[in-house]
């Protein structure tokens, strides 16, 4: 049973958050082990399993990005995780800037980072954060809507676009984390 089926939902990305929470509470009242503590061992095991399933499904579906990641895996028949399959990819329009950032990061790791360089990195981090925000908005907005509206013939293309967007986001996230470390690490040494 996949996460959508647990909540009795079609494989669509547009999900009403309030309705999802309501349904989550209903399912929790039905399956939470607290209400089966005095039952026979098999019934207790069943409750534990169902409740774990409900919680895992809710965790994934309530977060719009995790929901897309899951849908992509599900559509590709990789429901059980096997590490990251799609390699994080740099957004093409940022390739040149990324090159500079990587250079600055290497410098920071080597220990040489003056105030100006740190300020530049901080500015770059902010820009990348904004760029990641845009990518996320695109994923949960137009791309998700496109998936929900697509007929069977269009799905493969949209799925590929979603996968690409997720890879871009994953890449940005890694670089932002590296920048954070470099900026804060250097700040710590200075202080």
């Amino acid at each position: 049973m996949n996460h959508f089926e647990v909540f009795g939902l079609p494989r669509r990305l547009g999900i009403d958050a309030a309705r999802l929470q309501e349904r989550f509470y209903e399912l929790s009242r039905r399956w939470h082990p607290d209400f089966h503590a005095a039952a026979r061992p098999e019934a207790r095991a069943r409750a534990l399993e169902e409740s774990a399933r409900v919680n895992a499904a809710y965790r994934t579906l309530r977060d719009p990005i995790a929901r897309v990641e899951y849908l992509v895996r599900l559509e590709q028949g990789r429901e059980t995780r096997e590490g990251a399959v799609v390699k994080p990819q740099a957004p093409p329009e940022l390739l040149e800037e990324m090159f500079e950032i990587q250079e600055a990061l290497a410098e920071a790791r080597a220990g040489g980072l003056d105030d100006t360089a740190r300020k530049t990195l901080a500015t770059q981090r902010e820009r990348l954060q904004a760029r990641m925000g845009e990518e996320e908005a695109r994923i949960v907005g137009p791309l998700s809507a496109a998936w929900d509206a697509a007929g069977p013939g269009e799905r493969a293309a949209i799925l590929a676009a979603l996968e690409q967007a997720l890879a871009t986001r994953a890449y940005l996230r890694t670089v932002i984390e590296d920048l954070e470390q470099a900026v804060e690490g250097a700040g710590g040494e200075a202080g």
Binding site: R29, H32, F35, A52, N55, A56, T80, G83
Partner: protein, 632 residues
């Protein structure tokens, strides 16, 4: 007696422990007192030649038998030697590394932290059984929300050793929210700030339609009132050394290495902290072997000392808010739990962070036990309109190539929950696969908490990469991990051997359960005799010291009267007549009342100049003063 099984709720605290249940008639949780009406059981266990003593009687031995009296054992639960070695110098008992866990060397024997906790749990179980008049076998036990898997396992092991089936481990702040929920909580977003004796937790919950959904939790399992006491104690130590350097120069042992003296200082630090939570100034008097230390302390002085510790609680609060996706101002109510939230500085800082006054209508010492009782009643089927949805506090992952952790279940995931991961072999014909399971938020395995190593065995020999082994990780409603695996091609379950990194093996626990029956505490009669004897010993120690130190301040006939009362008590203590021992203890106390007053007066004259001792007798009477006090 009800037809439902009786499940008790236990708060196994760093400093104090309690047991509670829900009264079927009123539907409200109640703390079960002991025969003397005391509600808190000090979490102190003394290993004496006469047997094991727990609670108040053990607490009174802290100074006299520092090496064999264990306190704050919760700090050692589920911990390895490296986790605790930095703070060992503050503990008077010997702690040794032992195969992933630690052992305490007390009173000529070695015990593990779960065995010590089991003594406390057994005392609470006895207390409940006396109250109900029938055996109790099941319990809900609370732990700090930020406890990891090993610490939870250790708590459950302690329950088993005490003869209790621990039907659920519940997080302390969420238990507290249940107690509030039953009595007075509005719906909305709640922050529970729980600062106890040794641990700190912050939990953010959404309460709606009887569902208590934890959104995020954070904390520090090594931060609490004990740490406040410690910084105050070290400051006092410096001051004693400065004020009394001449007397100290004649002592054979350095004050800082004198376990008894350090225990006196620790208890005095605690007493000062408690008094300064209510008052702005207090006078502290500590009798030592050969002199008496006395000084006035202002609340601001203590606040300066503990400020960095209080600040340390705010980081986890901010992180929990971030994880819940909330700004501080969005929280509707802030609830304070744990004895250390009585400290005014703590309240001020919490109020500043959330921008609203926190509340603590329910006794912060009792609220967790009351909540545990509510959870017990839910499990017993007695409450059906409340449900707690708690989360796992730490991310769970496995070590992958290069020592990097791959997260399977992120922190703040609602439990129970499960995750699956596919494994395969890397060498042709490989039949065993190793797995290293970790808990923590860091990227590298070496920076996370190692939980266990698993070996998947019996894989059919195949070319590398061919086997597909699906491993399922399940975190149950107590926050404890279970792992199962199966090979997908053959469908057969792979056998898993678990090697817990920290903690007792199944065999260890089995043996301890048996031993605990063998060494089962002496019956109630014997234990009560031990308690009165201990009380007598404590009083006699104080009196002997007082006579040595200040005997010449009173007349010869008074000295003789005291000596006679002392001898009478000594004689009674050798026998087994409890009432006689108690009677003569009281008599000795009464005989020394005047001496105690004279000593206090003289100490205070030294410390305070002209201020009359009687004016401050009230404040100075608490804590480590001589045993007798002026009758009101």
């Amino acid at each position: 007696m009800s037809e439902r099984p009786r499940i008790i709720g236990i708060d196994l605290g760093t400093t104090n422990s309690l047991v509670a249940y829900v009264d079927d008639r009123t539907g409200l949780p109640r703390v079960i007192p002991d025969e003397q009406g005391r509600r808190l059981l000090p979490s102190v266990v003394a290993f004496t030649p006469d047997g094991v003593v727990v609670g108040e009687a053990a607490r009174r031995q802290l100074v006299r038998r520092p090496g064999s009296t264990v306190y704050s054992v919760k700090r050692f639960m589920g911990r390895g030697y490296d986790d605790v070695k930095d703070e060992l110098k503050y503990f008077p008992f010997v702690v040794r590394p032992a195969d992933g866990i630690v052992r305490l060397e007390v009173g000529g024997r070695e015990v593990t932290p779960p065995e010590v906790s089991a003594v406390i749990l057994r005392a609470l179980k006895d207390r409940a059984e006396r109250h109900f008049g029938h055996p109790v076998e099941q319990a809900v036990i609370t732990v700090p929300a930020y406890f990891n898997d090993s610490q939870r396992q250790a708590t459950r092991d302690a329950g088993r050793i005490a003869g209790l089936d621990v039907v659920r481990i519940v997080n302390e702040p969420t238990a507290a929210s249940l107690a509030y929920g039953l009595q007075r909580l509005k719906e909305g977003l709640i922050a529970v700030y729980d600062l106890g004796g040794g641990t700190f937790d912050i939990s953010i919950l959404r309460v709606k339609d009887g569902i208590f959904e934890v959104l995020a939790t954070n904390g520090d399992t090594h931060l609490g009132g004990d740490d406040f006491d410690r910084v105050i104690m070290l400051w006092l130590l410096e001051d004693v050394q400065a004020q009394h350097h001449r007397e100290l120069a004649c002592r054979p042992v350095d004050l800082a290495r004198d376990n008894e003296a350090m225990q006196e200082l620790r208890l005095a630090a605690e007493a000062a902290k408690i008094r300064l939570s209510g008052e702005l100034r207090t006078t502290l008097t500590i009798p030592f072997e050969d002199f008496t230390y006395s000084r006035e302390i202002a609340r601001t002085e203590i606040e300066r000392l503990i400020e960095p510790l209080v600040q340390k609680t705010l980081g986890p609060c901010r992180q929990a808010l971030r994880d819940a996706g909330l700004r501080p101002a969005e929280v509707d109510e802030v609830v304070l739990v744990g004895g250390s939230t009585r400290v005014p500085l703590v309240r001020r800082r919490v109020q500043e962070l959330f921008g609203r006054a926190p509340h603590s209508q329910l006794d912060p010492d009792e609220v967790v036990a009351l909540g545990a009782a509510v959870q017990a009643q839910i499990l017993a089927g007695g409450i059906t309109d409340m449900l707690l949805l708690d989360v796992t506090p730490l991310s769970l992952g496995i070590e992958t190539l290069g020592g990097v952790v791959s997260v399977l279940i992120p922190r703040n995931t609602t439990i129970p929950t499960s995750a699956r991961e596919m494994f395969t072999t890397s060498v042709d014909g490989q039949t065993v696969v190793d797995m290293h399971v970790l808990q923590g938020e860091r990227e590298l395995a070496k920076d996370c908490r190692s939980l266990a190593r698993f070996e998947l065995r019996g894989i059919d020999p195949m070319p590398a990469g061919m086997p597909k082994i699906e491993v399922a990780f399940l975190i149950d409603a107590s926050g404890i991990l279970q792992v199962t695996a199966r090979e997908l091609r053959t469908g057969k379950a792979a056998s898993i051997e678990v090697k817990p990194t920290y903690g007792l093996t199944e065999a260890d626990v089995g043996r301890m359960v048996e031993e605990s029956f063998q060494y089962a505490e002496a019956d109630v009669e014997a234990r009560m005799l031990i308690e009165v004897r201990n009380e007598a010993d404590t009083v006699m120690t104080h009196v002997r010291r007082a006579l040595r130190q200040a005997g010449d301040l009173v007349a010869a006939d008074e000295r003789e009267r005291i000596a006679a009362a002392l001898a009478a008590l000594e004689a009674a203590r050798a026998g087994e007549d409890r009432d006689l021992i108690r009677e003569r203890t009281t008599a000795l106390n009464r005989a020394t009342e005047h001496l105690a007053e004279v000593m206090m007066d003289s100490a205070l004259r030294g410390a305070l100049g002209t201020r009359r001792a009687a004016e401050i007798m009230g404040e100075a009477g608490e804590g480590g003063t001589p045993p007798s006090r002026k009758d009101a």
